[in-house]
Symmetry: C2
Subunit: 153 residues, 2 copies
DNA sequence: TTAGTTGCAAAGGCTTTGCACGCGC
DNA sequence: GCGCGTGCAAAGCCTTTGCAACTAA
């Protein structure tokens, strides 16, 4: 970045991803994708706040629209935890899953148990054609274990 | 129900379950549990409508409260599909998972792939103590395959 | 130029909260 | 009798929708 010619080379990759999904490349879209890459498991509010640091004129509705488009295009994955607004994460292509702490709500990624996508096959698919399998492990994170959260009541 | 003495023997089981969870037994609670046993994957609206058939004076807020209590007590499991209100199902104790149709939103139960709970172990638990693993298979149900839903755009 | 996308504003639905009465224990 | 649970009413939040102007391709 000596000459300032390529201050955002990384953005080119993102733009290519957007184009490859058949979507037009716009500043807010690139920004949303960047935020998601740097901060996985972001809520709409989080993405909105981050994008506005760069593009102050962006509206929340635009963020909703972009995330919906990206989710439909497969660029991002939506995650709906109970008692919380939806989270979004960059779909990097691998098949990772989630550890969800019932104590503090922390979401953490884990590699797929088996390693391929879909990594699981239902015992009876009932005629379904399976595209993907998402696994959520519910448990208690290390911090919540240490703090002695009550587990029985 | 000839004498009216035991028109709801089955309810006794439900009451026991409620009591066992440390909750008080009330008519709406028994009704909610009955609805959930007969109609898995019910939304709040669905449960509300069914309960009112028996207990016309029940309010929606009561249903929300009951479902929240039951979820906390482990009697029912909450399921948050994207773009839809939360679903609830009776937690019968086994470790079944879900087939979710991306075409029509149909949710169907499947037995656990492996058969034990938790039936999966993450490759790296990051210090988490895992209580349970929930698996959602995303795919296309037989009806949506037949109707030729577009899969590429 | 053409079509998709953004921005502004408002509405809608789902869910939660506060308080008093009633019922289960 | 005590305390939890229920009912009534309202507010809150997250999310979606409609229309005009702008930008990417």
């Amino acid at each position: 970045m000596a000459t300032g010619t390529e201050p955002q080379t990384h953005s080119e990759e993102l733009k290519s991803s957007i184009r490859a999904s058949g979507l037009k490349v716009t500043a807010p879209r690139v920004a949303v994708l960047e935020v998601l890459q740097h901060a996985p498991h972001s809520s709409v509010e989080q993405v909105f706040a981050e994008v506005r640091k760069t593009l102050s004129g962006t509206s929340a509705q635009t963020i909703y629209g972009i995330l919906a488009s990206f989710t439909g295009a497969g660029l991002v994955r939506r995650f709906d935890p109970p008692d919380s607004p939806a989270l979004f994460e960059c779909r990097v292509g691998d098949n990772h899953h989630h550890l969800s702490c019932v104590g503090c709500g922390l979401i953490q990624d884990v590699d797929c148990v088996i390693g391929q996508a879909p990594c699981l096959t239902p015992s009876d698919d009932s005629g379904f054609t399976i595209y993907s399998a998402e696994v959520t492990f519910n448990g208690l994170c290390r911090a919540c274990q240490t703090s002695g959260l009550p587990t029985t009541g």
